[in-house]
């Protein structure tokens, strides 16, 4: 059998330099591109925790990405210049040490992030009892809108029955005989909350799976028919924000848009009053 090119060829060296430059440029370019504020403006308390989780990952992973691409580039550049191979094998000890060091190192970076930063945020978000003064809102998703319901002055939601649902006259199936429902306030695609109180949203879906996504509040929760998941969060900014659907729900998924307004408490009362008038 004829031997393949068995000596370093200037062609390989030139090409290796080019390829090494490409990988180095990719690594450096990637970090430069990534190192800016990409996230939508932050507007919730637990969101700060999510952002620090993401920042931790962006910084540590960015570093690993840069180092590994530069290492790849170096090996290619150097390898293209060799006329003979280096030692065939590393010693067993080197191999084992490298594996253990890297395995443990990665475990610390990856699992450490979850344990030290991630878990407390997760616990704060899911595990803490909702504050007593939280404003409770019922959101029922359907193709392709968000039905929003406030309990009204009595603070109690009226009964609903799926069999009473009629998309034009009774979109969430309110039981009109229930006195608690008389003062319920219903809006479409618009949630307004008073600044300074926690928000507690009970999610329903009438038809397919939707996902209630508030990019600025770092809130995302699937709305699943047959289930009533709840999200609790604390807005830290007033303003007008958008609600997006993040789970494929059909043709108009891409424009199942809603609005989320955080307003001063006085404005909230006015708004709520106005909504009640127009019911």
């Amino acid at each position: 059998m004829p031997s393949p090119d068995s000596h370093a060829h200037p062609r390989f060296a030139r090409h290796a330099t080019l390829l090494a430059l490409m990988f180095a440029a990719t690594g450096i370019g990637g970090v430069v591109y990534g190192a800016r504020a990409w996230m939508p403006e932050l507007a919730s308390r637990h969101g700060a925790g999510i952002d620090s989780m993401l920042t931790y990952l962006l910084v540590s992973v960015g570093g690993l990405f840069l180092v590994s691409y530069l290492a790849l580039a170096y090996f290619i550049w150097r390898g293209g210049r060799r006329t003979a191979i280096g030692p065939r094998f590393a010693s067993r000890r080197t191999e084992r040490a490298l594996s253990i060091a890297l395995g443990v190192g990665m475990a610390i970076i990856a699992e450490g992030g979850v344990l030290a930063i991630g878990m407390p945020v997760w616990a704060e978000y899911f595990d803490a009892a909702p504050p007593a003064d939280a404003i409770v809102i019922d959101v029922t998703a359907q193709q392709f809108m968000w039905n929003v319901r406030y309990p009204g002055p009595d603070g109690v939601f009226g009964r609903t029955e799926p069999r009473l649902i009629d998309d034009t006259t009774n979109p969430i199936g309110m039981d009109r005989t229930d006195p608690a429902g008389k003062d319920d306030i219903i809006t479409l695609n618009e949630i307004t909350v008073p600044f300074g109180r926690a928000v507690r949203i009970r999610l329903h879906s009438k038809d397919v799976i939707h996902s209630f996504f508030l990019p600025n509040f770092r809130v995302k929760q699937d709305a699943v028919p047959g289930m009533t998941p709840e999200v609790v969060f604390f807005p830290t900014k007033t303003g007008h924000f958008e609600i997006a659907c993040a789970e494929l729900c059909g043709l108009a998924h891409y424009r199942m848009r809603g609005f989320f307004n955080v307003v001063p408490p006085a404005d909230f009362d006015t708004w709520l009053h106005k909504q009640q008038e127009s019911q």
Binding site: S6, G34, M39, F75, P162, V208, H253
Partner: protein, 580 residues
């Protein structure tokens, strides 16, 4: 074994693993063409959301009347792109195709353990591909609920047009696919277990064989739950059961009579397959790259034994992490923390494996031929894809990133890019063995540069679309104020995608031209060590004249023999010292 057969038995209904492998590869490449064209349509829509493509309105009068894609066609295109690329391109070309071609040759067998089953598996696979493509032409168009087919969207025919007949055809095609893939996987496992040549101990197997072996076991364990789920979905759709449909659903003002089902059940069953499935695709990609690299560094791979153990560890771990696809699904948040921790455990073996690949370049005398360039691309994308996984496996970070373009970018780096580049690397590397001719080196290099750079650009940028909160499966990003600034990024991504797609013409031309006009290849053009290089190119029916006796492991590079600076696995220990 030198039976003479007519044309049909030799090239069509053949039981020769090499013919079947090539059949799988060609079928898969044609499916890739379909999947790639669908990707082009997606990028046309996202890059230029309102542009009227008049020539396309003539080609696709129903999907793009007046030249702008309809949302129903867009969703069908997205669904079919994902389905075709995952199940009908990568699974066919890389897993079944190269698996069939390489495993018997590399373990020193005359054929697969069950040649007839092998032929059957190919023809069922062929049928599955045809059925899937046909679904574009039924009432309501192809399935449109995403490749993950979450019910109720996929279960109720009025939920989306693609959930009329298209979704049923999708399920039937998937059933055929699973049947075929199970046969093929069973065959690979049996072949590795039972027909290895004398002396081919498990710890002498090339990493390619190891990766196919473990991937096939994973496939066998993971596909049955999807089969069960598909049957249940079919029953829900046509026979009034309620496996995935709860009480009280109202779709389009129609009250459904179903009671008691759970949409989450599908997600659990789907991802119980879905997560191991990504390893079914990616392990062979890594295995193939691991075997290509030493042929061009001219030295043994680094840490072979450790790499094998890592493959096994990843295989085991991949079966218990599926819930990381469901962090915000409504599943208990406490399980979310469990799934985070075990998912991130996978980084340990994967890091060791990746670093072993990188360390294989240490001290190398690098020869940058085309298969090597693609393998280095595999290594690079495996790095960046794996790093993205650290974000998504982390439940806290995933709360913001779930179902955004970060996910799209991440899995395209992994099961899109690592597998695509490994497929190309494998084709350039084994083409001479398959067809007896070399592929053109210059065109191959051009193909590498025009594939890697746009590919990396597209999917790297998509991670940052995700950080900006751009949800996936959106027909356009025009409806939201906060997504307006993604407009320019989408344009750049679309332009890069057009370059990427066009660049594949270079590959197609090279492939066809080389089949007929390529330089004639010797038996061992790369000076590689595994058994397939000891037989003529292309190998005869039955592969080996005399059955090979294996004397050493698969990575005996850097030793002097009469052949050069390497010893193939059959070279006895008297001629060159045995390392393993």
């Amino acid at each position: 074994m030198s039976e003479q057969h007519g044309f049909v038995r030799r090239y069509v209904f053949s039981t020769d693993h090499k013919t079947i492998g090539i059949q799988y590869i060609l079928t898969g490449l044609l499916m890739a063409l379909a999947g790639g064209l669908l990707a082009t349509l997606i990028r046309l829509q996202l890059g230029w959301p309102d542009h009227q493509w008049l020539f396309l309105s003539r080609l696709l009068p129903k999907g793009m009347p007046s030249g702008v894609m309809t949302p129903e066609f867009y969703l069908a295109v997205v669904t079919m792109h994902g389905t075709i690329m995952v199940f009908f391109f990568i699974s066919y070309v890389l897993v079944s195709g190269f698996g069939n071609y390489l495993v018997p040759l590399q373990v020193g067998a005359r054929d697969m353990a069950f040649p007839f089953l092998n032929m059957l598996s190919y023809w069922i696979a062929f049928l599955a591909a045809g059925v899937m493509l046909a679904s574009f032409f039924v009432e309501g168009g192809a399935a449109a609920a995403g490749w993950t087919a979450y019910p109720p969207l996929s279960a109720v025919s009025s939920a989306v047009p693609g959930s009329q007949m298209g979704q049923t055809i999708w399920i039937l095609s998937m059933a055929l696919f699973i049947a075929s893939f199970t046969m093929s996987g069973l065959n690979i496992v049996a072949t590795v277990f039972s027909v290895r040549a004398p002396g081919m101990w498990m710890m002498r197997l090339p990493l390619t064989v190891w990766s196919y072996f473990i991937a096939s076991i994973l496939g066998l364990l993971a596909f049955p739950p999807l089969t069960a789920a598909a049957v249940m979905l079919l029953l829900d759709r046509h026979f009034g059961t309620s496996f995935f449909l709860p009480s009280g659903m109202v779709i389009g003002n129609t009250h459904l009579t179903n009671t008691g089902g759970s949409p989450l059940l599908w997600q659990h069953l789907f991802w119980f397959l879905g997560h191991p499935e990504v390893y079914v695709l990616i392990l062979p990609a890594l295995g193939v790259a691991c075997d290509i690299i030493p042929a061009f560094t001219r030295k043994p791979v680094f840490g072979y034994r450790m790499s094998v153990w890592c493959l096994m560890a990843v295989g085991c771990l991949s079966m218990i992490v599926w819930g990381h696809h469901m962090f915000v699904s409504g599943m208990s948040p406490f399980t979310g923390e469990y799934f985070s921790l075990v998912t991130l455990t996978i980084t340990v073996p994967m890091t060791i494996f990746g670093v072993n690949m990188l360390a294989s370049l240490w001290g190398a005398k690098l020869q940058l031929r085309v298969p090597m360039m693609f393998s280095l691309g595999v290594l690079a994308l495996f790095g960046s894809g794996g790093f993205g996984g650290l974000f998504l496996g982390n439940a806290t970070a995933d709360m913001q990133l779930h179902d955004t373009y970060f996910v799209v970018g991440h899995f395209h780096m992994m099961i899109g890019g690592v597998t695509l580049l490994a497929t190309f690397g494998a084709i350039y590397f084994w083409f001479p063995k398959m067809f007896g001719r070399m592929m053109n080196e210059t065109l191959g290099k051009l193909h590498f540069w025009t594939t890697f750079l746009p590919f990396f650009t597209i999917f790297f940028m998509q991670h940052f679309l995700g950080l900006q909160g751009a949800p996936r499966r959106y027909y356009a990003f025009t409806a939201y104020d906060y997504l307006q600034k993604t407009r320019g990024q989408n344009l750049i991504i679309s332009i890069a995608a057009m370059i990427l797609v066009s660049s594949q013409c270079v590959f197609a031309i090279n492939f066809v031209w080389s089949l007929f006009k390529g330089r004639v290849a010797e038996a061992n053009p790369w000076g590689a060590t595994t058994l397939e290089w000891t037989v003529p190119s292309p190998p005869p029916h039955g592969n080996f004249g005399n059955m090979p006796v294996v004397e050493r492991w698969a990575y005996e590079y850097g030793v002097q023999t009469v052949d050069g600076d390497f010893a193939v696995q059959t070279v006895p220990s008297q001629i060159a010292p045995v390392s393993a």
